[in-house]
């Protein structure tokens, strides 16, 4: 970048600028992660029967072995992976499609649509879930009024949750793509147009490859978000009988934390974080490979 930067300042100045951010960053970001790692290697041992005393012992990887052997964890993680496979591609395609369409209409009208699509992002996940769960209820669903009866809170509950996520986040991701699109210099496709390329052709072979980094980034953030699934199923649980208290890994971890199984909750959290890391890495390498061919 070739930017000149000021020389380092006295320690007091440096601490004054950096301390207010990095001390809380250390205390409320780094330390909790380290603490969760530590906590996950412990176990509580009870001596002297039910009324005896408890003590905490080092347990190595015992909690992790228990987590991986726990069917509610493995089925939860499979569920969120299936959920991610439904939601992420669908939402990414919708966001790209909307951004491309907006780029191809007059600017003013485009801004209006952009604002409309972005609006659901202002709605908290809890509120969106309460709203959609009422819309999914047979008694209050507009679909039932026109004679469509779907088990939206039964067999179709995963697509129903995916819909809440897409509704809330597609507009946000569309804004990311949209900004990337406006940063492409007009001359690039002006030349293609003179050569007789159709709008569709320009969108597919010029615009799309150029915004690929943004598309990949948005997909990775979506994968991270979907694996952490917690809010929507927790709210829908009140209205749906198929959602259990351990429906997703985060719900399992929460349940263990509130019932005092801290070490187990920590192990679930760490395992989920590791799985999330692996999945986002997988998305990145799939995207890279697809780019090369």
């Amino acid at each position: 970048m070739g930017r000149r930067a000021w020389r380092a300042r006295p320690l007091l100045v440096r601490l004054g600028f950096l301390g207010p951010f990095f001390v809380p960053f250390l205390l409320f970001f780094v330390v909790p992660i380290v603490y969760a790692l530590y906590e996950s290697t412990l176990k509580v041992v009870r001596t002297g029967g039910v009324f005896g005393t408890t003590s905490t012992q080092f347990a190595g990887f015992q909690q992790y072995a228990a987590v991986l052997g726990d069917t509610s964890f493995t089925s939860g993680i499979l569920r969120v992976i299936v959920f991610a496979l439904i939601q992420v591609p669908l939402m990414t395609v919708i966001a790209v499609l909307l951004a491309l369409l907006i780029a191809a209409i007059p600017r003013r009208a485009g801004n209006v649509y952009r604002a409309l699509f972005f609006l659901p992002y202002a709605v908290p996940g809890v509120i969106a879930s309460i709203m959609w769960s009422t819309l999914y209820q047979p008694q209050t669903s507009p679909l039932n009024e026109i004679g469509i009866n779907l088990p939206l809170l039964g067999a179709l509950v995963l697509p129903s949750i995916a819909n809440i996520g897409i509704w809330g986040w597609a507009g946000f991701n569309m804004i990311l793509m949209s900004t990337a699109l406006t940063s492409i210099p007009e001359e690039l496709f002006e030349a293609a147009r003179i050569d007789g390329a159709s709008n569709l052709r320009i969108a597919m072979s010029i615009k799309l490859p150029l915004i690929r980094p943004t598309v990949i980034m948005s997909a990775i953030f979506s994968v991270i978000g979907t694996l952490q699934l917690f809010t929507e199923p927790t709210i829908l649980r009140a209205a749906s009988s198929v959602i259990t208290s351990t429906f997703t890994p985060n719900m399992l971890a929460y349940n263990n934390a509130v019932s005092g199984n801290y070490s187990y909750a920590a192990a679930v959290s760490v395992t989920l974080a590791a799985a999330t890391f692996v999945m986002s890495f997988a998305v990145l390498s799939i995207a890279r490979r697809a780019g090369r061919s």
Binding site: F25, I94, L98, A115, L116, V126, W132, W167
Partner: protein, 304 residues
Amino acid sequence: MTTVPQSEVAPSLRVHRRTKIRGSAGDRAALIFRFAVLTAWAAYFILPLYWLLLAATKSAGTLSSSPAFAIASPQLFTNLGSLFGYENGLFFRWALNSVLYSVCGAAVGTLIAAMAGYYLAMYRFRGREALFSIVLGGVLVPSTALALPLFLLFSQVHLTNTFWGVFLASIVNPFGFYLARLSAEAAVPYELLEAARVDGAGDFRVFFSIASRLMIPGIITIFLTQFVGIWNNFLLPVVMLQNQNLYPITLGLYAWNSQQYAGQTPLQTIVITGSLVSVVPLIIAFIFLQRFWRSGLGTGGIKA
């Protein structure tokens, strides 16, 4: 950094588009098709909110008996009365808590992120890139993954079930720090600061009276993203808080919603009206502050 500001590019683009669009009949048909598709999607995004607005005016009976998208014996003020009157005005207290958590958390979080991001952008010191990389790694850690570890840690120091438990856990914003650095690099010219320095202004003086003002668009975007993040947060308050007097709106409405399904049906109208009340301020803020969203999220989107 020699990017041309958007506003300077826009007029020429507009001319291009106009000429392009007023083309053949085929072009016009294509344009109509695009508008049709976009309008259908707009309906998908907006109709649920329109439904919420209508539903908040209905009584428990008409909610299930009237068509979903029809106005039926509206009684919004009755519903608002029962919402704010329920359990001695508990909803008002939750709204106040939400405002406190979000405004204070985002204000403090934005200030510290702006100072650190600015310092990293403008000064050279050992470990600068290492610090930046560590925080950038933090951007990839979702807040939900941090909520449980924070709870485990805070329960050791008796911070759970307090205002501070939620507040302290909300102030660190790695994405804000990242935006602050970008914003300082783009908006604060080195020469200006050099001049201020020659005039004898100290480092903090230069930041607070000159640099921070130049960074205002970036700072507003950081504040907004963090404000929305805290306002919408659910897992953190749900693990931290048991005392319902400390609940933010999201957690409170969740609790009432669960009670409603557990048999307390009169709560349904209260929950729906409360949902409407809690999204209205955010939607208004979004509409008025749109340009900050577009530009701010854009920088994050392109550079990351």
